[in-house]
Symmetry: C2
Subunit: 221 residues, 2 copies
Amino acid sequence: MREVKVLTKILKANDMIAAENRALLDSHGICCINLMSSPGAGKTTLLEKTAQLFSGSISLGAVEGDVATSLDSERLSAAGIPTVQVNTGGGCHLDAGMIKQALLDLDLDRTDLLFVENVGNLICPSSFDLGEHHRAVMLSVAEGHDKPLKYPGMFISCDLMILSKTDLVGNCNFDLAVGKENALRVNPRLRIFELSSLAGTGMQEWMDFLTELVKGKKASL
Amino acid sequence: MREVKVLTKILKANDMIAAENRALLDSHGICCINLMSSPGAGKTTLLEKTAQLFSGSISLGAVEGDVATSLDSERLSAAGIPTVQVNTGGGCHLDAGMIKQALLDLDLDRTDLLFVENVGNLICPSSFDLGEHHRAVMLSVAEGHDKPLKYPGMFISCDLMILSKTDLVGNCNFDLAVGKENALRVNPRLRIFELSSLAGTGMQEWMDFLTELVKGKKASL
């Protein structure tokens, strides 16, 4: 019982900071997407490709969450995305306090669209509101189409789902129709994108979606 | 400070139960491997293939850990492996108490080699001793060769590493030499297997290793 109470308190404190983060982002007209997945699903590669395709027409920013190393923030910086690295030092998720701190190091007046690349973990990050406007779960076809059923908490917590590495689908035991059906079974509200960042397929729909998001956010200012 | 103390206490209690589990397994001459990885790296498929290749010459058992569903224990049971399903209901790892409970439902006198298939998560399970004799981390080539550097805790905690889905290596940005080098950089003690359960490559070395393990365990009785 004590453990449950402690967790509830931590989440309550987290949610208050998340609300502050969201208000700060709103005041700057920034749309924020919390991108979550298993390790190696392709989050960083998608952000690299997204930056390349926008080529400056929309100003991106990123908060890069990792247990260790700055490998991914180096990749994002090289792709032209101003990025703040957060190392959790063993921690399995980002929380709102880490994002609050990271936002101090970003130029919010020059950011349209902020990606938070969460720690690679299909379980723990789903419990923590960071102050984002959208939550996206990425599932690589190499992981198998049963994953939405096996990790329902993550898929229920998101409004977007990205089926990634679709170029590998012929080499994996992944049935795209079954994968989408499983996802929609645990969360019928999911908007699903299918894409391969490396092959470039499916990117247009993703880019159009992001463009509309940013337009909508600016219009609401 | 209080959080750290609570965690230390939980781990101490866990380690005591883990020691009991290990003593129980030892008294039955059972070798136990704690198999950990990201979601969808291929743990269940490797166990299916292992059972098929042993075809009863060594008696396998399994404890199957999942956030939700009994999909994997159904697969293992269909492969002829007596399996106990543990659902964590949102929990991100197995602990020694769950294994203690699961061992009550296995026929220990008829088990030579016990696999614990942990919850798919490259972070949290590494902190919990379950009473196993070996800890194996599986890394699918689809996840990328940087993962040992990015999730060092898991790779440091293990003595075995299985590079899986090597049939996909030509289609992924995974350099086998770099992947092994990264793993050995964080833990030079790692014994590394490279295999593809689906293609069947690399399975002989894995099977020989398991056979020797079981022989050694029986000899020590």
